[in-house]
Symmetry: C2
Subunit: 383 residues, 2 copies
């Protein structure tokens, strides 16, 4: 049907009607006092969501822009960067660092795995001369649906003395990420994920320690320059013309989120992912991430049953039930499909998605106990 | 009044209702076939508007992002860059180039002036060893409302052999800018100007000659990388998650513009600016740009009458008549005010703006023949 499509991809995620309507208002001047008031509220609410006292910058860019904003404000040619890679997005950090002329070393694990803190500890202990300046890592890997043990990993990086640069694109607002308490130095995120607004904005917060390294950066990006953004945030402004309508939408979405409460939001994500995983297993499908402890609360990667293809599952879900799920990326294409339970998703959506997945598999000839997935989902959602 | 504000600043500019409503639809997946079709249309329409056969990239960023995208894909440390500066935005090119480690030389003129082709010719002729690799320039300087003689300037740069990098942020879609015919190498623009959509997207097109220089760039930006964007444009895609809703809005706005016709659009801008200038003069105010040949069709900078301040004019226009005009920037703050006739502006808007300006000046005690501005505007608008 037209106008009934429901996104269960890892982003863009569904957007509340009130946010869409706020966004649809005529743009106002970005140097007006009205807009300055909106920015003041929004900057305060972002600190709340990032669980930090650091300023949170709003970039008009994709999440990848904020990743470039992180490294291009820190890296000088020849700097040693250690990249912890558990998937496509972890590898993006390594590519950006290499592009800036850094000397990049990687710790890489197979898709579906997380970084073992012991392995990181060994690598950092081996760096006796403290040459590693920056460690990049992913909180929640969107390509696989694995959540790294971020708290433990960041503690080790802090102990070593390097700067931790964390991709929180699909975690902030979905999976607990305590920037200040855990000691994260640089944390980035993107709007079309837990923030419940359309794509187009990205966020970055940096610690004082990271700012000291930034001050030694020889050729920081002009567009993404931290010093310029910090100055603007403190004046309730932006350095350049921002995506005004998206910021108005963000302001509205953050108000909704504060009303809901961070704990409720995080618990809801955990409950939905758990219900989906239980349903998947009940109908005999295999989730890519075997270990429940590292399975993401935002994205679940699923192997198709034998004899049924990922493209068939995706197109049946889309054509017959108006639900969009994602394919795997790169070498995982057609090997897995990925379902997001990220952002503006309610219990009914999870029930509908599991039911529609059952219906699609039934139509495609897969033999299983019809209704068993929805039963497992409901048991996890209710009570 | 609430919800009646009319923007006559140089951006954001007014947005048509149909574009706002298109933007307010639920976001669709950026890897879907539906979105790919929208991109295919949009990329083709952008070529039409840029008057080029080169691919036009869509960046999720401010216009300044596209400026960084231009230079960060070309400049190596130590490269000689000549920046033609006629105002704040011309100077931004020089800052970005210097930040990238370029050896920047400037030709700078007083605010309100354009670059004299003779002066550029002398500078280029003096470069007998052809050491200048890039010349940056501004088509229409937003800070002052001056339009450079771009065709002549670009011809001189072409003859010399350097790469011309042009800021068309407030010119594309408002002032004639023939990328291919004039031989512009790199042309950038921004969405909240002639494109009639909210801020958040920026555009860049590059010639084959510029791409050859890009291939020698040692540390091109990852986020803004030309090669990645060219590959994506040719696959009707984007390298990273774009601002989906703004692209849907852009698609709608470009359809309106094509229906209108480029010649009509450019003529309308010329007519509106001419009417506004005539009105300004009729009521005894002095436009900052004295020479009609270089006065912008998009932005008009105006000196306040003696004894009346720019902040008073701006706040009266805003509070009593719901019209927002811009202050001067940096050293021009409170010296001039700037009125945009850029994008989605009709004849009635110009009459209303002139009338409201008369009413504001009248209220503030300025002595002049009431009605003379509107009379002059109408004489230029009708017939």
């Amino acid at each position: 049907m037209n106008d009934k499509t429901f996104l269960m991809i890892p982003g863009p995620t569904p957007v509340p009607e009130s946010v869409l309507l706020a966004m649809a208002k005529h743009p106002i001047g970005h140097r007006s006092s009205e807009f300055s008031s909106i920015l003041e509220e929004t900057y305060a609410d972002l600190k709340w969501l990032f669980q930090t006292q650091n300023d949170v910058f709003i970039y008009t860019s994709s999440g990848t822009g904020a990743m470039e904003a992180a490294l291009s404000n820190l890296v000088n040619e020849g700097d040693k960067v250690l990249s912890l890679v558990i998937g496509n997005f972890g590898n993006r950090w390594a590519k950006i660092a290499a592009g800036l002329g850094a000397d990049v070393q990687k710790i890489e694990v197979a898709p579906g795995q997380a970084i073992d803190p012991k392995v990181l500890k060994e690598a950092l202990d081996a760096d006796v001369n403290k040459e590693i300046k920056i460690v990049t890592l992913t909180h929640n890997e969107t390509a696989t649906g694995v959540t790294n043990p971020l708290k433990e990993l960041v503690a080790l990086i802090k102990e070593h003395g390097a700067i931790s640069v964390v991709d929180g694109v699909t975690s902030v607002g979905a999976i607990d990420c305590k920037m200040d308490e855990w000691g994260i130095d640089v944390l980035v995120s993107g709007s079309q994920k837990g923030f419940m607004i359309p794509p187009g904005l990205a966020f970055l917060a940096a610690s004082e320690k990271a700012f000291k390294v930034h001050e030694q950066c020889k050729h920081p990006s002009f567009y993404f320059n931290w010093s310029a953004y910090r100055k603007s945030v403190r004046a309730n402004s932006t350095p350049y013309t921002p995506a005004v309508n998206l910021i108005v939408a963000l302001n509205e979405a953050l108000k909704m989120m504060k009303k809901d409460g961070l704990e409720n939001i995080l618990n809801r994500h955990a409950k939905h992912a758990k219900a989906l995983r239980a349903a998947i297993k009940a109908i005999g499908l295999k989730p890519m991430v075997q270990d429940d402890n590292i399975a993401s609360n935002a994205i679940t990667s699923i192997y198709p049953p034998e004899g049924i293809s990922v493209p068939d599952i995706r197109s049946t879900l889309k054509k017959d039930f108006d639900i969009v799920v994602a394919n795997g990326q790169n070498e995982l294409k057609d090997k897995i499909f990925r379902m997001g339970t990220l952002g503006f998703v309610c219990d009914r959506d999870v029930i509908a998605a599991v039911g529609a997945l059952e219906a699609s598999l039934y139509k495609l000839g897969y033999k299983f106990e019809l209704g068993s997935g929805v039963k497992a989902a409901i048991e996890n959602l209710v009570g």
